[in-house]
Amino acid sequence: MNTILPHDSAVGHVTGEAVYIDDILVNNQLLIGKVVYSPHAHARIKSFDLSEVRKIPGVHAVMCYKDIPGHNQMGPVVNDEPVLAENEVTFVGQAVFLVAAETEEQCREAENLIKIEYEPLDAILDIKTAIAKSNLMGPPRKIERGSVGVALKSSKHVISGELKTGAQEHWYLETQASLCVPGEGNEINVFSSTQHPSETQALVAEVLGIKRNEVVVEVKRIGGGFGGKETQANHVACWAALLCNATKRPVKIRLFRDDDMIMTGKRHRFLTKYEVGFNDDGILQAVEFELNSDGGAATDLSFAILERAMLHTDNAYYVPNFFVEGRVWKTNLPSNTAMRGFGGPQGMVAIETVIDRIARYLKKDPTEIRRKNFYGIESRNTTHYEEVVENNRLHMIYEQIVKSSEYEKRRKEIDEFNKKNEFYKKGLALTPVKFGISFTTTFLNQAGALVNVYMDGTVLVNHGGTEMGQGLNTKIQQIAAVEFGINPDRVKVNATNTSKVPNTSATAASSGSDLNGMAVKNAIDTIKERILKELAAIWSPQQSTNPSISTEGGSQPDGWLAGASGGHQSILFKDSFIFDSDHPDRKISFTDAMKEMNLRQVSLSATGFYKTPTIGWDKNKGRGKPFFYYSFGMAVSEVLIDVLTGQHTLLRTDILQDVGDSINPGIDMGQVEGGFIQGVGWCTTEEIKWDTQGNLMTHSPDTYKIPTVQDIPKDFRVKLMESVPNLVGTIRRSKAIGEPPFMLSLSVWLAIKDAISAVGNHENEPEFSLPATNEVILMAIEKLKPSRSLRP
């Protein structure tokens, strides 16, 4: 029985039959919602007049903050995000009014008739200004081990510097969208492209001033999320819900691409300062980091993102004396938010820059410096927050990839090439990733499920996760099929619905299948226990011992789960039958068994629950075990740069990624390749720019450039490690895969730097930042060769 499936929506995708929010057929009562937003980065609202707008035929509602029946508040953690601006606007793109009309043209006409007077105020548009004005979002955070000051003083070599990393737009293909349909009384049905249905439900209830049991949020699929719909999909849902509630008609809001890019937050920009001490061998003695994050106008998830950045400034390296301090700065830009890696990339790039600089300083290959500083297996194996790096696969991966990528040989060839070529230079870099798996806000590590088995032997699985392309539902379908021992075509995974599984966490932090997979298994175990008990009564009524369940190929209960079964395991769920392996005559088809259970009044529906065991994290002390386990991977990338134009070409990338025992290698490969390429975009062509008034200049794909098919490595060799089960008890011994590969793209960024450095024969440190656009590359090159400057 082949249980490795293609993506469960693949046929719907390729035929165009897959339904997204904007494709849902609604009756002709549907109204179109529009958000009227601030054109100022910071201004006081002096007055406004909506009376003319209400006269336009076809316009059914015009709303300002005064028309909100509940709380004017949609911040996910801190109450600092108004649904509609009151007296002040704090960024360009902030919602001020809402309009519902029969057509888009009427919405635009309405917008043009709104009268509003602003008094512009001073705006803070970058981190440096925010620092100068002490405009902190909240108190600084720090994690400290050893004594950095002393260790820096006693280090033989000390270098310091500053690194800027850019923002990144999620560029999900489906822009933010929500459709709200009114029910009876206060009831409202919200169809949303959200990664966090429970939070969407909570906020819609708060904004409307109704109870959560009156709001149902449903998510069939998301046309790309990448973190951009973890909190900020809530906004569109709240706006649509307000208009729906006001008109008592279905209302749909789908943001136009440019509006989506202007209104929503991005990956946080960081300005990082560092100082590092090391010895002649390049062994790290002490490191000090100061992380400054651009939070935008509201808190959103900025502190959790900063925390993950701080927890990843070690990446794969042991540093005995470690100090990292982080601050979120408040600026007049849309509130920055979650994006794949969630601060991890901004943290890792800091230490990778440090290592790269040490290598150039010592005139050694950076790969050698990396290897020497990797976390050890038995010793040198605790992080700066004192979690032990268990089941460390860095050394194993390193040995394999150095060999398979022919790193040493190619390094020599590249040196030769660079000696012979003046106008083209090549660069090579190997970078590792060690990424911590679990929400660092520990209580979020929980999931629920509801599994129904019907009398025809089919199974309907509900879980709290959302399907955004990552293949979560496909993995869940496989897990359920294996646990029940039936063909996957008898398992259907339902749209995520808050009335089926309540109080869930966001599908984020790469946790989707770890958490929801276990919750589904837990529900299935409950149903199987009931069936087993009944079958035991049928098959051996006189026996008092309780046989327990087993599924060939399924997960054996681990540690904390063991209490749920134990004893002998003679009854199997396999090949669509349930049978006793000790008594071949005791056998019943799965479908017949379900009919029998119904006759015998056994419930075939159960909820499941899971919480990640053994973790705990003290934010204030900066100590504990925030992560259940680590995911490891490495990449080697080679680039070619054109010295005269700063253009680069990605020639080859080798990747080796640890996913434990993969539940679905096709889907996991997709996460590795897709995450890596998204990272390549962040590192190279994706440049976000605001003008001096706080207007986003790169507000559409004609100026914001995500990778195309021609930007992927000409030679792309990606491998998942084989026979490396996760040694902690995850579902089917798999590992999380959503975010870790993103950061493998730092190999491309550092390969570009290596190629630039070759212009100056690796004698001098190039001036470098992220993204490495052709301007950055060209400027760095020009500074390395002052005698050849193009400028007079």
Binding site: P6, H7, A10, V11, G12, H13, V14, T15, G16, E17, A18, V19, Y20, D22, D23, L25, E105, Y172, L173, E174, R221, I222, G223, G224, F226, F256, R257, D258, M468, G469, G471, T645, G646, Q647, G666, M669, G670, E673, G674, G675, F676, I677, Q678, T685, E687, S700, P701, D702, T703, K705, P707, T708, V709, Q710, D711, I712, F716, V718, T773, N774
Partner: protein, 411 residues
């Protein structure tokens, strides 16, 4: 003269009358038209400016030999009247009548070519056009066909693999079988000119050059569209009401390419992809530029006439054509004049073209023996990006005319 348009959709001939169609105007995009139908929600809007490819559809049109030529285009940049006499193929049409997936669809399923799926219908349509135009395409041809489709999830590798695997059946599929039937429909659609007039808008689609020139004389303020990949943005992004339009897409005289002893003469409404197919040998610098000019979807509709007509700095062909000493032919009821490109363009979107004149063709003189023209484009991203800098070098070592006639050879 007619005021309605006819095209083939879902294997049936449809007639659209703009006077009786609520919510549809002559500048409605094909994307918005399709999405207004309950049965064609597969086509997606990702950007409404031709930069993402999620709205890609395929247009079938008759070539000279009673065969159908299949071209992928961005439906967000095509006005409805431009469909006249063509077959509109959407992702919903690719399955066979008994529900079997098309080879490109099956390969995308098998190779894990979709994740979130929102870009997938557009990618399927680009791949379908590739399938119909190439058997066993090279990696370069695949990249060229897909460079106009953004995918944020997969990293493209499985999509390329799906194309490699599926485009291997000599372009044959159920569309091949149905072709004679569709060709019959095409022939039943009259070639007369179309004048769509409503209270707010006048959309004129002349059927001959003579008619086009006299219409331009009558309506000198009318916006000429010749592909409309630039003009469409005024509708999709700025929501502008274009009041008077003369659409040259049905003027066959402007679609001709001629080679003479001394030059190549390209009709104003020859698509960039068609231009590209003629010039590799004699005008390699222009060829190189067209390789990185927008995307295949845009090159299938964008024209040299359009690039020169808008005189927008975004038009990548203009500097190259200048380096080749190209000339523009302008025609009006008052006659015909020839003007070199450097004298034609006077500023940002400004030219010496008079209101009653039309660009009818572009003359690219043969490069002198010994002269070398090279083009370089520097952009943030290689494909589908606006140039930051273009560099054109023309080196002349000796002046000597060659006698060979430019032989038209299409790739």
């Amino acid at each position: 003269m007619r005021s309605t348009i006819s095209f083939v959709l879902d294997g049936k001939k449809l007639e659209l009358d703009f006077k009786n169609s609520k919510g549809i105007s002559s500048t409605s995009t094909v994307l918005n038209y399709l999405r207004s139908l309950p049965t064609h929600k597969g086509v997606k809007e990702g950007c409404a400016e031709g930069d993402c490819g999620a709205c890609t559809i395929v247009l079938g049109e008759l070539d000279g030999n009673d065969k159908i030529k299949y071209k992928a285009v961005n439906s967000c940049l095509v006005f409805l009247p431009m469909l006249h006499g063509k077959q509109l193929i959407t992702v919903e049409n690719l399955k066979t009548s008994d529900g079997k997936l098309h080879p490109v669809q099956q390969a995308m399923v098998d190779e894990y070519g979709s994740q979130c799926g929102y870009c997938t219908p557009g990618i399927i349509m680009s791949m379908f056009a590739l399938y119909k135009n190439y058997s066993k395409p090279t990696r370069e041809q695949i990249d060229d066909a897909l460079a106009g489709n953004l995918c944020r999830c997969t990293g493209y590798r499985p999509i390329v693999d799906a194309a490699l695997k599926s485009c291997a059946y000599n372009c044959r599929d159920h569309f091949t079988e149905n072709e004679p039937h569709i060709v019959g429909m095409f022939k039943s659609i009259s070639k007369e000119s179309i004048h769509i007039q409503t209270d707010q808008q006048k959309y004129l689609q002349p059927a001959s050059l003579g008619e086009a020139i006299s219409l331009k004389h009558r309506f000198p303020e009318a916006l000429i569209i010749c592909g409309a990949t630039d003009a469409a943005l005024r509708v999709t992004k700025d929501h502008e009401l274009l009041k008077e339009i003369i659409d040259l897409s049905s003027v066959t005289e402007l679609k001709e390419v001629k080679g003479t002893d001394t030059a190549l003469i390209i009709g104003a409404s020859v698509s960039m992809n068609d231009v590209r197919s003629y010039i590799e040998k004699f005008f390699p610098a222009l060829f190189e530029m067209l390789n990185v000019f927008a995307s295949s979807q845009i090159r299938n509709v964008a024209t040299l006439g359009g690039n020169l007509g808008t005189a927008s700095p975004v038009g990548d062909t203009i500097p190259v054509l200048m380096a080749y000493n190209a000339k523009v032919i302008l025609e009006s009821l008052n006659g015909r004049r020839e003007i070199t490109l450097d004298n034609y363009i006077t500023g940002y979107r400004k030219t010496v073209r008079k209101p009653d004149e039309l660009i009818t063709s572009i003359i690219i003189p043969k490069v002198l023996n010994g002269a070398i023209v090279k083009s370089y484009k520097v952009s943030k991203r290689k494909d589908l990006d606006i140039s930051k800098v273009q560099s054109l070098e023309e080196l002349q070592r000796e002046i000597c005319y060659s006698n060979s006639t430019l032989k038209l050879e299409r790739r």
